[in-house]
Symmetry: C2
Subunit: 250 residues, 2 copies
């Protein structure tokens, strides 16, 4: 039975799993769980992931959620995956696990609420929240500074000094890509000071093309809708048309 | 060269690593990094962990931080560790990784700020923050409900249906033990509805004695100080004596 991925391209960890499978030639069936239609909250999806979050996978009789656990599992379960994605070497693997854990309470804790409170909220019928966005931006900027000064230290182009990408590069870069939904000026202000981060995003993109661009295309579509909504002033939109324009949870 | 653990018993992930090493007969040198003296923020400790957080380890020339990554590493690096702590089986390991990832953005995201804003703040010279505490309690209670209904599902006494504890049991139970710092009534109100969680805490404690109680003794000492501070009204205390009574970051 083919591996099933329950995903939505607007979800950054979904994209990381999708790109990983594509790059590594893992055959899968994509099951779209449309966040904008709140399908992730349905009783059907709760059978797959009781936490009602994306992504989730079903591999035969085995169900799994949490994107990092999924990436670790796939890297080990499919023998064709090159070692650099999640090295068998105990020390290299431990460093990658360390980045992945760090990500949860740092980069993600900054980026996700910034995008929500600084860009997406109006599309969900909620006001922008500049205070929450400013707090998130502080966490995000501190996290980007740590990536720049510590995680990208050394001669390698990728995290923890590697010369080839790992599942941690994919996870963190997909998170940062979500900033594409912000106003360009804000995004440039935040990312601009971190030259190594910008180069690393580009290196990760180049190492995973054409899948990287294909999986991220959705962001530019959503942004276009956000800008249109903004220029329309939103006054002539019904609550329902607003909600359908954008995901309710990213 | 002996494994070095950089820890403070008041830090819940430090306790998880300490108990793990003790239970598994891993020989180590304990290096106390006193959070109440802000030693985790010192330039010396930044050489060990540039993120300035506890715990961290040094094993020979290898440095590592993030408690989950440390537990995963130790379970694999020391051949005497029983398999149930972090199973070699791909599926069992994946489920444990999934709980560990989930923990970051659920249980910990509720428990840690609740203890800070609901109990510890005055000892740090900051006011209690009932609004932040109430928000954290909602996240914590939802997380405990998920542990009760999902992670402790099945016949096993431990997480993901296991009959013996894993590193995930240790990590999550040590987090919940931090609630001992709360007012007894508040703690009972929060934990009371979750009978399986209460039994599981007890099972994890029993499976890791006498080390569990030894490593948690600090919490009861800190609580006594908190209560004394409360009954004294804090008015006759200097800022400096307040700060030294309690950890600045847990």
């Amino acid at each position: 039975m083919k591996l099933k991925l329950y995903v939505d391209h607007v979800s950054q960890p979904s994209r990381a799993v999708l790109i990983f499978c594509r790059v590594n030639g893992i055959d899968f069936e994509e099951v779209k769980v449309d966040i904008s239609k709140r399908q992730h909250l349905s009783p059907e999806f709760a059978e797959i992931n009781p936490m009602k979050k994306l992504p989730a996978i079903v591999d035969g009789r085995f169900k799994l959620f949490e994107s990092h656990a999924i990436l670790q599992y796939l890297a080990c379960a499919f023998p064709g995956v090159a070692d650099h994605w999640y090295p068998a070497d105990l020390f290299k693997k431990a460093k990658i696990n360390s980045v992945l854990d760090w990500h949860h309470t740092n980069l993600r804790r900054g980026a996700a609420p910034l995008v929500l409170h600084g860009a997406l909220a109006p599309a969900l019928g909620r006001p922008l929240n500049p205070k929450a966005a400013a707090e998130a931006e502080i966490i995000l900027s501190a996290s980007l500074a740590k990536i720049e000064s510590f995680w990208l230290k050394g001669n390698g182009r990728f995290l923890v000094g590697s010369s080839q990408p790992s599942i941690a590069d994919l996870s963190l870069v997909c998170e940062i890509m979500q900033l594409e939904l912000l106003d360009d000026e804000v995004r440039t202000r935040i990312l601009g000071p971190h030259k190594k981060v910008i180069k690393w995003i580009d290196d990760t993109r180049n190492a995973t093309q054409p899948h990287f661009d294909e999986m991220h295309a959705i962001l530019f579509k959503v942004k276009k809708k956000l800008l249109k909504m903004c220029s329309d002033g939103g006054s002539d939109q019904t609550e329902s048309s607003r909600k359908s324009a954008l995901p309710s949870k990213m």
